[in-house]
C-alpha cells in the first residue's frame, strides 16, 4: 500500500505503524463529571466498518507524523491523508 503523506508525498505503508480508529483523537476530559463512562467508551468501543474508515497511522520510519488516513477497508482505496495534529486542532476549534 502507498499512503499519500501530506508533507512527503506517496510513502510505502511499511514505513508506518497502524493504530486504528481516528476516534482516539477525541479523548474525554478525565476531570469532568462522568469521566468513568466516557473513558470506557473511548477505550473499548470502536466502529469497525466495511467501507470508508478514518484511521490513525504513525510514520515511525519517517518523519514521526501521526496521520489521519481515510481508507476504504474493503478496497483499500485511500481517499485522503491529513496530519492528525491539524485534525485535532480543528476539533478543538470546533468545540
Amino acid at each position: 500500500m502507498l499512503i499519500p503523506h501530506p508533507l512527503l508525498g506517496p510513502r510505502d505503508a511499511v514505513e508506518f505503524t497502524y493504530l486504528g480508529d481516528a476516534s482516539l483523537l477525541a479523548r474525554p476530559d478525565g476531570l469532568a463529571e462522568g469521566a468513568d463512562a466516557a473513558f470506557h467508551d473511548y477505550v473499548y468501543l470502536r466502529d469497525n466498518p466495511a467501507g470508508v474508515h478514518r484511521e490513525l497511522w504513525y510514520h515511525e520510519q519517517g518523519d514521526r507524523s501521526w496521520l489521519v488516513v481515510t481508507r476504504n477497508t474493503v478496497t483499500h482505496e485511500i481517499l485522503g491523508a491529513e496530519l492528525a495534529r491539524d485534525v485535532a486542532l480543528a476539533m478543538r476549534g470546533a468545540k
Binding site: 469521566a35 477505550v43 490513525l56 515511525e60 501521526w66 486542532l89
Partner: protein, 976 residues
C-alpha cells in the same frame, strides 16, 4: 524415442542430467520434461491421493503432475514443476510421493481404497473414535498423501529483495506482451517487461506458424534486439509476477541462478516489489482438458502441450498419437506432429461437422470413453456415430479450449466474467491501472494478440499523458477456434478433473448430491483446486461440470476467489535474505568494542546486543562471574553500560504540563536539577512503562524508558503531543543513540567519579540523591550526571556523547582499579535490582497495575494523566495481588520464575491460584535463591509460608513471603 527435427534447442552441446539416479542426455534450451520425453521417460510421478501413475500433462507453469525434487542435500527442493525446470549440466531430479520404486508404488493400494477416499472423506470416514484422528488417522494420511519432503537442512543459498518503479509493467512476453512493450518503450516510457520463461516469445515459441511469412522466432529476435537497445526498458526473464497488491504494487520473483549448474556465491532468487503506474497483463491462456474415463494415464496430455514439445523442444511422448478435441486447435497439433514425422492414429472430434484438416483419420461426433495401459497409455476407446472402436496409440492430446489467465486481473476481488461467445471466463473488474491484452483477454489469435497488446500499451500511456504510436505490426494468423463446448464425457468410471488433488467428475457429482453446490463449498469439500497448481487446469472445467449438474449456467455458477501467488513462491525468497544475523538490525552499545576486548559474553536484549557478564580467568560457570560482579559492586564500585534505556529530550514552555499528562505522578512540580521516578500507564489503567524524569532546565526535561519499551513510549509521547494535546508548546526528540550512559554504582562510586569530573562538587549536600546536572568530565567533555540508583547502592549515571562512551568506560575502569572498579553485565544488573526489589520488564508485563507494584499512591487524582481514570475501575482496584519478596524455606531450594503461588495444602487449580513468581535469581548477598512475585493479599502475609508450583517440572517449593527489598529496605545506602 529419438529427437524430432527442428526445435529451439542447441544440439551442438549435450548436457547430462539424472532422473531417479539414471543419467540421460539433453540440450541447452530443454526443460527437464522435454529432455525426459526425448529420452522416452513418460512416468514422472504418482498422484496425491490414489498414487496413480502420472505423466507430464502440460508444457508450462500450470503443470499438475510432473512435480519432482530437484537437487540433493541441503539444496534439495521438493515440488518443483519439471515443465519449467530449465535443464543444465549435472541437474539431479527425483520423483516424489511413492513408497518403493516409481514404477511399483506400494501406496498404490490407495487406488483400490478409492471408494473410501472420495470427496469429503476427511470429514466423514475418520471421525470415530475422535481421539484417533490426531494420533493415528491424520499422520497416516499425511504420510500417504503428499508431496516431496524438505531436506531438513538449513538453506545454503542467498536471496535478495529489491524495489522497482516504472510507468508500465508488461506481464508476459508473448505476442501481446512484446508488442505492448515495444509500443511503450518506443514512446520513451519507463517499462518493465517480465516473463516467467527463460526465452521471450510465449506461445509463439510453441507454434509452427509464421509471422510476416518468416519463422516467428525471426520476429521475436528483432523485437528482442530493439528492446535490448532501449535504456528505458528493463527486460526480466525468468521472472514470475505472482501477485497484484494494493495501489499498483506487484510481487515478482526472479530466478537468478536456478538454471546454473553452480549457483556460486551469488543470489539464487530475488523478490521484487514493483510499483507500476500502469500495467498491461499479457499472461496468455491455459489450455483446458475434457475429462473422460481413465484420463490420467501417462501419455495423456494437453494437445497444445504436445504441440509445444514437438515444435519448441523437438520431443514427443510417443511414436503414434491421437487427438481428442472439441475445436480446431486440436487439429493444429495433428498437423504439426504429422509435419514432424509422428504418426497420427486418429483425431477424435466431438463436433458433428468436424473434418480433417490434413491426411489423418478424423472421427466426427465422437468421444473418448475409456483408455488402457497400466503405466502408460496403449489404447483409447472411441465412441462414434457408427459404434465404438479401440484405437491403439501411445499418447493422446486433449484440447477442450483455452482459459484466459485471469489470475492477476482478479487479485483485487475482481471476479472473472463468463463470455458465452468465447466460452471462457474473461477478466472482470481489474485492479486500478491494469489493462488485459492478448489471450488473457480472449484475444487468442496471434494477430489479435499483437494488436491488442499494442493498443493496451497506447491506452495505458495515454492515461499518463504519454503519447505512443502504434507500431507496424507483422502479418500473423487470425484463425478462429470454432469451439463447440463439451465439458466432460459422461460415464460411470472415474474421470479426473483435478489431477494433482485427485478430484474426479464423480467427486463433483457426490458434492452436488451432498448439497455442496456453491463453488466455494465444492472447492473445500472435494479439495478441488487446492493443490500447489491451484487448479489451473481444473477449476473452470469443474465449474462447468457443477453447472451441468445444477442446471445453472456457468455464468451463474461463477468462480472461486483468485488469490496470490500465481505460482508457488518459496518462503526463502519472501524472506529475501533477512535471516540469521540479517533478520533485523542489530544495535551495538557505545562500549561494545571495549566489552568485546574484555571478553564479555553478549546477550540479545530487544534489538540490542548487551554484555551479559565479563568472565575472568578461572571462572568456569556464568554464576561465578555474576556473583563476583554483584559482590564487587556492593563492596566497591561497579560499572555498567545502560545506554540502551530509551532517552527522550522534552523541551518547550509546556514541557512540564505535557509530562504531567503522560506520567500518572506529577512532574511539572519537579525542581530544576532534580530527578523523579515516573510511572506511565496505558489508557486502560495498566502500567505501560517506568523510568526517570530529570529536569535539566525550566523548559528542558530528559526522560528515560525501559530498553524494551523505548520505541512504544516514544510513539505514545508523539501521539499525545500531536493527537491529544496539539496546543501545547512541547517538542520531543529521541536521544537514545546520542548519549552513552554508564551506571557507576557502589559505595566507592563518589570517589571514582571525583576522579573524572571537572571540579564538580559531588558532596551529598551539593548533589544529593535524585539530583541531576550538566557538567564536564575528563577535562572539558560535556556530560550529564544523574544520581539515580537501580542497584540500591550509592549510584550515578553518567552520560557523554556516544562516541566517547568506550573511552569513558575504559578510563573509569582504569582510574578505579584501587577502588575495586568492576564492569558488570545484564545478569548482575538483574540480580542487583531483584535484591533491591525494583520492578523491571518481568513485573511490567502489561497485566499489572501501579497498585500491584505497591505504587498505587503515585497515581495522582488531581490531574488528568493517561490511564488515571481507568486505573480507578473496580476490577483493578479490588485486585489484592501485590509485589512481595520470596525466599525458599529450605535455603538450597530453587525459586523458578513463572511458578504459580498457592496456599500450603491447597488444591492447585485456577480458582485457588494466588499469584506468580515474576523474577528469580541467586542472590550472593542473601546466600540463597530469591524471587519477586505478585501474591494475593501479599502485604498482610509477611512471614507466611506458601507453595510455588511449577507443574512443568513437577516441582512444589515452599517459599516464605518477605519484603521485596532484600537489601537496605530503608534506603540509607542511596542517600549516603
Amino acid at each position: 524415442m529419438t529427437r524430432l527435427s527442428g526445435g529451439l534447442i542447441d544440439r551442438s552441446r549435450t548436457l547430462s542430467f539424472t532422473f531417479n539416479g539414471r543419467s540421460y542426455p539433453g540440450h541447452p534450451g530443454d526443460t527437464l520434461v522435454s529432455a525426459l520425453l526425448a529420452n522416452d521417460v513418460r512416468l514422472v510421478g504418482r498422484s496425491f491421493k490414489y498414487h496413480r501413475p502420472r505423466g507430464v500433462f502440460s508444457a508450462g507453469s500450470e503443470e499438475p503432475n510432473a512435480l519432482v525434487t530437484l537437487g540433493s542435500g541441503a539444496r534439495a527442493e521438493p515440488n518443483t514443476r519439471a515443465t519449467v525446470a530449465e535443464l543444465f549440466d549435472g541437474l539431479e531430479a527425483r520423483s516424489q510421493n511413492h513408497a518403493g520404486p516409481l514404477g511399483f508404488d506400494l501406496l498404490a493400494v490407495n487406488d483400490l481404497l478409492s471408494p473410501f477416499l472420495a470427496a469429503g472423506f476427511y470429514y466423514k470416514t475418520f471421525m470415530w473414535p475422535k481421539a484417533f484422528w490426531e494420533k493415528l488417522y491424520e499422520p497416516a494420511i499425511r504420510r500417504a498423501a503428499g508431496l516431496g519432503s524438505l531436506s531438513m537442512q538449513p538453506d545454503p543459498d542467498a536471496y535478495d529483495k529489491g524495489f522497482l518503479h516504472c510507468d508500465l509493467l508488461v506481464i508476459g512476453a508473448g505476442p501481446s506482451g512484446l508488442s505492448a512493450a515495444l509500443t511503450a518503450a518506443r514512446a520513451g516510457a519507463k517499462v518493465i517487461l517480465a516473463d516467467e520463461d527463460f526465452r521471450l516469445g510465449g506461445r509463439l515459441l510453441a507454434e509452427s506458424h509464421t509471422v510476416d511469412d518468416a519463422p516467428a522466432t525471426d520476429w521475436i529476435a528483432g523485437v528482442e534486439a530493439e528492446l535490448a537497445s532501449l535504456p528505458n526498458l528493463r527486460l526480466m526473464r525468468r521472472t514470475t509476477v505472482w501477485g497484484a497488491f494494493d495501489h499498483g504494487i506487484y510481487g515478482a520473483v526472479e530466478r537468478v541462478a536456478d538454471h546454473l549448474p553452480d549457483p556460486g556465491a551469488g543470489v539464487r532468487q530475488t523478490l521484487w516489489r514493483i510499483t507500476a503506474r500502469r500495467v498491461v497483463l499479457a499472461a496468455g491462456a491455459t489450455e483446458r482438458h475434457i475429462p473422460f474415463a481413465n484420463n490420467d494415464r501417462p501419455g495423456i496430455l494437453l494437445a497444445g502441450a504436445m504441440r509445444a514439445y514437438a515444435n519448441r523442444w523437438a520431443a514427443c511422448p510417443a511414436q503414434r498419437v491421437a487427438i481428442f478435441t472439441n475445436n480446431d486447435d486440436g487439429h493444429r497439433t495433428a498437423l504439426d506432429l504429422l509435419g514432424k514425422g509422428v504418426q497420427v492414429a486418429a483425431v477424435v472430434d466431438t463436433r458433428p461437422d468436424a473434418t480433417a484438416l490434413g491426411p489423418y483419420r478424423t472421427y466426427p461426433a465422437a468421444q473418448v470413453t475409456n483408455t488402457w495401459g497400466r503405466r502408460g497409455l496403449t489404447a483409447i476407446r472411441v465412441a462414434h456415430e457408427g459404434g465404438s472402436d479401440w484405437v491403439t496409440c501411445d499418447a493422446l492430446g486433449v484440447s477442450g479450449g483455452w482459459n484466459p489467465n485471469v489470475h492477476l486481473a482478479s487479485h483485487q476481488r475482481g471476479r472473472p466474467v463468463w463470455d458465452a461467445a468465447a466460452q471462457a471466463f474473461l477478466p472482470g473488474a481489474c485492479p486500478p491501472g491494469m489493462i488485459v491484452a492478448g489471450a488473457a483477454a480472449g484475444q487468442g489469435s496471434t494477430h489479435a494478440a499483437l494488436h491488442s497488446g499494442a493498443k493496451a500499451a497506447q491506452t495505458a500511456l495515454a492515461d499518463l499523458g504519454i503519447v505512443a504510436n502504434l507500431p507496424d505490426l507483422p502479418r500473423a494468423e487470425d484463425t478462429p477456434l470454432n469451439l463447440r463446448p463439451l465439458w466432460h464425457v459422461p460415464g460411470k468410471r472415474r474421470a479426473w478433473v483435478d489431477f494433482q488433488n485427485d478430484v474426479t467428475v464423480n467427486d463433483i457429482a457426490l458434492a452436488h448430491r451432498e448439497n455442496m453446490r456453491p463453488v466455494e463449498h465444492l472447492k473445500r469439500w472435494t479439495t478441488l483446486g487446492m493443490a500447489t497448481d491451484q487448479g489451473k487446469t481444473a477449476n473452470v472445467t469443474a465449474i462447468a461440470v457443477m453447472a451441468d449438474l445444477t442446471g445453472q449456467s456457468i455464468a451463474a455458477t461463477g468462480t472461486t476467489i483468485y488469490r496470490p501467488p500465481y505460482t508457488p513462491v518459496s518462503l526463502a525468497v519472501l524472506g529475501g535474505g533477512d535471516t540469521g544475523a540479517q533478520f533485523r538490525p542489530r544495535r551495538l552499545t557505545p562500549t561494545h568494542p571495549w566489552a568485546q576486548a574484555q571478553g564479555a559474553v553478549f546477550v540479545e536484549v530487544g534489538p540490542w546486543m548487551r554484555a551479559q557478564y565479563f568472565p575472568r580467568p578461572g571462572e568456569t560457570h556464568w554464576r561465578q562471574s555474576v556473583d563476583r560482579e554483584v559482590l564487587a559492586t556492593r563492596a566497591g564500585v561497579g560499572l555498567c553500560d545502560v545506554t540502551t534505556l530509551g532517552k527522550v529530550d522534552v523541551q518547550g514552555a509546556d514541557a512540564g504540563v505535557f509530562l504531567d499528562r503522560l506520567y500518572c505522578n506529577p512532574m511539572a512540580s519537579l525542581k530544576v536539577g532534580m530527578v523523579r521516578y515516573g510511572l506511565m500507564l496505558r489508557e486502560d489503567g495498566h502500567v505501560f512503562d517506568d523510568g526517570t524524569c530529570a529536569r535539566l532546565g525550566a523548559e528542558h526535561y530528559v526522560v528515560t524508558t525501559t530498553t524494551a519499551q523505548a520505541g512504544p513510549v516514544f510513539r505514545q509521547m508523539e501521539f499525545a503531543r500531536q493527537c491529544l494535546w496539539p496546543d501545547l508548546d512541547v517538542h520531543l526528540i529521541s536521544t537514545t543513540d546520542a548519549w552513552a550512559q554508564i551506571s557507576v554504582a557502589g559505595p566507592q562510586a563518589r570517589a571514582l567519579l571525583g576522579r573524572v569530573v571537572d571540579g564538580f562538587d559531588l558532596s551529598n549536600a551539593a548533589f544529593p540523591f535524585m539530583a541531576c546536572a550538566n557538567l564536564t568530565v575528563c577535562g572539558g567533555l560535556r556530560a550529564r550526571l544523574f544520581r539515580i540508583s537501580f542497584s540500591g547502592e550509592l549510584a550515578y549515571e553518567l552520560a557523554v556523547p556516544a562516541r566517547y562512551g568506550a573511552a569513558l568506560m575504559a578510563r573509569l575502569v582504569d582510574l578505579g582499579a584501587d577502588l575495586g572498579a568492576t564492569p558488570y553485565g545484564t545478569e548482575a544488573l538483574g540480580v542487583l535490582r531483584i535484591e533491591k526489589g525494583h520492578a523491571a520488564g518481568n513485573e511490567l508485563n502489561g497485566q499489572t497495575t501501579a497498585q500491584m507494584l505497591g505504587l498505587g499512591r503515585m497515581v495522582s487524582a488531581k490531574k488528568d494523566a493517561i490511564g488515571t481514570v481507568m486505573s480507578r475501575r473496580e476490577g483493578l482496584v479490588s485486585d489484592t495481588r501485590i509485589l512481595v519478596g520470596l525466599l525458599p524455606v529450605d535455603a538450597a531450594g530453587p525459586v523458578v520464575a513463572g511458578s504459580h503461588l498457592f496456599a500450603e495444602g491447597a488444591v492447585q487449580q485456577t480458582d485457588t491460584d494466588q499469584g506468580w513468581v515474576t523474577s528469580a535469581c541467586y542472590s550472593p548477598h542473601v546466600g540463597s535463591s530469591i524471587g519477586l512475585g505478585f501474591l494475593a493479599d501479599g502485604a498482610a502475609r509477611m512471614g507466611e509460608v506458601i507453595v510455588a508450583a511449577n507443574p512443568l517440572q513437577r516441582q512444589n517449593v515452599r517459599l516464605r513471603v518477605v519484603s521485596p527489598h532484600f537489601i537496605d529496605p530503608d534506603g540509607g545506602r542511596l542517600r549516603d
